[in-house]
């Protein structure tokens, strides 16, 4: 298991799951989102190959209503 921080919350996930699997877990794989992995923006093409490690900080963002 890996302990990570996702959108500011501490959560535990299976070790070495990919960002794509993380999106699947939150039903976000077909949504318009962007991911920041330890402060770096990850291109969509790398979601399946980029793996999540212990202590990673991940931000998943989307568009919301705004002025």
């Amino acid at each position: 298991m890996a302990k990570i921080q996702l959108n500011g919350k501490k959560i535990t996930v299976k070790s070495s799951i990919s960002l794509f699997e993380l999106l699947l877990k939150y039903k976000l794989s077909n949504k318009r989102v962007a991911i920041e992995h330890n402060g770096k923006i990850i291109p969509k093409t790398k979601y399946k190959t980029k793996l999540v490690k212990n202590n990673d900080k991940i931000e998943i963002v989307h568009f919301i209503g705004g002025g």
Binding site: L6, N7, G8, K9, I11, Y26, K27, L28, K31, R32, V33, A34, I35, E36, I41, I42, P43, K44, E59, I60, V61, H62, F63, I64, G65, G66, G67
Partner: protein, 257 residues
């Protein structure tokens, strides 16, 4: 009028009214107001996905980004670092380059920090973004923004969400005269007639959020703005009569009985 388009960078849209999607009661009302406004472009914010509630509806479930252009905005960013981070994420999300930059300087009046704004515009332009920039109504700073490559100059009419209408028509007119890229009034419009005035001054467009979302009947107000912006544009194109300080009667004096 049919060939009258608003051109920003390489995009061409029909409606000169751009609307914000914040402050509405819910996403359904947001979508209805956007539809009633006739806007082709809406501003959106970039925020964390709610990971504790997987069923929470998303904006893109209500407004189709294939039909309405999403303009990612950096509202709420108080420095260049936050603004750049937000827009780089937005670009990755949508794949487009047209963005709205807003770097705020003061929590109470939400005035833009123009030093950070100019710095951020330069960086974004270098990275290939097309940047529409929220700014003060200072003609010198507006020119500076144009010089560093802004795709549109977006001076405030009054503080964000204040609804006070255009406070400095002289400055807005000066900015319009000197600027080659579109000038779009952003922030501070209170009611439909304020938008008409902006368009009559010669603005290329207006961006409205609070004035519609905070109206008692937002959808009706959205319709009102749609007409107000069109009306102001037509009035500008028609060219108003000269102001006189004496009366001039409308009926001929000849043939008076």
């Amino acid at each position: 009028m049919n060939k009258d388009f608003l051109k920003i960078a390489d995009i061409k849209i029909k409606s000169r009214l751009i609307v914000g999607t914040g402050k509405y009661k819910n996403l359904l009302e947001t979508a209805k107001a956007v539809k009633a406004s006739g806007a082709d472009m809406v501003t959106v914010a970039v925020r964390r996905v709610n990971v504790t509630d997987k069923k929470k509806p998303m904006l893109s479930d209500y407004i189709n980004p294939k039909k309405i252009i999403f303009l990612p905005n950096t509202a709420g960013c108080f420095n260049s670092y936050e603004a750049l981070r937000t827009l780089r994420l937005a670009r990755e999300m949508g794949g487009w380059k047209l963005v709205k930059l807003e770097v705020l300087g003061d929590k109470k009046n939400l005035y833009p920090n123009m030093i950070e704004t100019i710095k951020s515009t330069k960086t974004l332009v270098k990275e290939g973004f097309q940047v529409m920039v929220y700014c003060t109504d200072d003609p010198l700073l507006a020119r500076k923004l144009e010089d560093v490559g802004a795709a549109a100059i977006m001076p405030l009419a009054a503080p964000i969400g204040s609804g006070l209408g255009i406070q400095n028509k002289t400055n807005i007119s000066m900015i319009i005269k000197q600027t080659k890229v579109p000038v779009i009034i952003d922030a501070g419009i209170g009611t439909a007639s304020d938008a008409t005035i902006a368009m009559e001054l010669g603005c290329d467009g207006v961006l409205i959020n609070s004035a519609i979302a905070n109206a008692k009947k937002p959808i009706l107000m959205a319709e009102s703005f749609r007409e107000a912006v069109k009306s102001g544009r037509k009035s500008f194109l028609a060219g108003r009569m000269k102001k006189k300080f004496l009366a001039s009667s409308s009926s001929p004096a000849k043939g008076i009985i």
